[in-house]
């Protein structure tokens, strides 16, 4: 019966060498760059190193690891490194950047005001999702202000989607005005109704 043996010692995995991490992030194999990215938070100039690495990196899981390192740092500055990728032409980069910010919601929230005022509709739209991670009253206020000035209906719809979850009484007239401004947008009309029902009278 003793066919199932007690393991004496586990298979050894090499421990990366701190001094070599910067170099490995630049020149190593996929596995080496992945390992180095995961440990890079310990480098003194981690933010600069990760910023450069992210700009160069093409392999998705290494990019993920770099984003995770930025999330571990979790500062306003590390969130700022992820932000430009929200504008990428590559859908997977946009997704990766937003997921990274999702893992550092407080740091991401510090950038919310300017994201909600960005000249690109795509960025304002993603910013509505970032607002969801902030306290409800704060999110309601910011998204309410956005909707009042927003001309792009898809951005309005993204804001309404979040208000359906976090909106309060002050949101209701804002939502009504939005629907009145865009009577031709069938989804927006639908979404405003749902949001108003969910905010309700309680």
């Amino acid at each position: 019966m003793p066919l199932v043996r007690k393991p004496s010692s586990p298979a050894e995995m090499p421990t990366p060498d701190v001094r070599k991490w910067s170099k490995l992030l630049a020149d190593g194999s996929d596995d080496e760059r992945w390992d180095a990215a995961r440990s890079a938070t310990l480098l003194p100039d981690a933010l600069a190193v990760l910023t450069d690495a992210l700009a160069r990196e093409r392999v998705p899981r290494v990019r993920e690891a770099i984003f995770t390192a930025l999330a571990k740092i979790g500062s306003s500055e590390s969130a700022a490194v992820a932000l430009p990728y929200l504008r990428s032409d590559d859908a997977s980069q946009r997704t990766a950047a937003l997921d990274a910010l999702r893992a550092m919601p407080a740091a991401a929230a510090e950038h919310l005001p300017q994201l909600l005022e960005d000249t690109e509709a795509d960025v304002r739209l993603l910013a509505c999702e970032i607002a969801r991670w902030t306290p409800a009253d704060h999110a309601s206020r910011m998204l309410g202000e956005l909707i009042e000035r927003e001309l792009n209906t898809n951005v309005c719809a993204a804001a309404v989607e979040v208000l359906a979850e976090v909106g309060n009484a002050a949101s209701v007239p804002i939502l009504a005005r939005c629907a009145a401004r865009f009577p031709e947008d069938p989804f927006l009309i639908f979404a405003v109704k749902v949001a108003r029902d969910r905010i309700g009278s309680r």
């Binding site: 032409d89 859908a91 997977s92 946009r94 997704t95 937003l98 997921d99 999702r102 795509d122 739209l125 993603l126 209906t153 898809n154 719809a157 993204a158 309404v160 989607e161 359906a164 947008d185 069938p186 989804f187 927006l188 639908f190 979404a191 749902v194 949001a195």
Partner: protein
């Protein structure tokens, strides 16, 4: 107990209200609707159950619509052959081209009327008018 005459549609979009909007458009016309909120969940659902059509967004967490399409088309039949209608906020020419390259059958830009959605679904599912 499944009703073999009813077509099954999978809606893959991270916005709950979009899914509700599409669901209400399709259910009233007799489609059976399932939901997923990102490409990865969508992939899991198509692997476990049969579908006649997938309606897919582009910008979603964990796995975007383009990545979903490449993964879907790399699976085996019949899963890899599911018709995919992409409905996205991305209105650029290169966005539709990227979706086509990844294997989308058609591309619409949001917002889409419920009636329009139902018509496209009927065409893709082979439902007679």
């Amino acid at each position: 107990m499944s009703d073999f005459s009813r077509k099954r549609v999978l809606i893959i979009d991270d916005a709950a209200l979009i899914r509700t909007y599409y669901r209400s458009a399709l259910e009233t016309r007799g489609f059976v609707v399932e939901e997923a909120l990102n490409g990865l969940e969508g992939l899991e659902k198509v692997l476990l159950q049969p579908f006649d059509l997938a309606i897919v967004d582009i910008n979603m967490p964990r796995m975007d619509g383009i990545t979903f399409l490449y993964a879907l088309r790399s699976k085996e039949l019949p899963v890899s052959g599911i018709p995919v209608l992409v409905i996205s906020t991305e209105a650029g020419v290169h966005d539709a081209a990227a979706a086509r390259r990844a294997g989308a059958n058609y591309y619409l830009v949001k917002p889409v009327k419920q009636e329009t959605l139902a018509q496209y679904a009927a065409v893709f599912c082979g439902v007679p008018r």
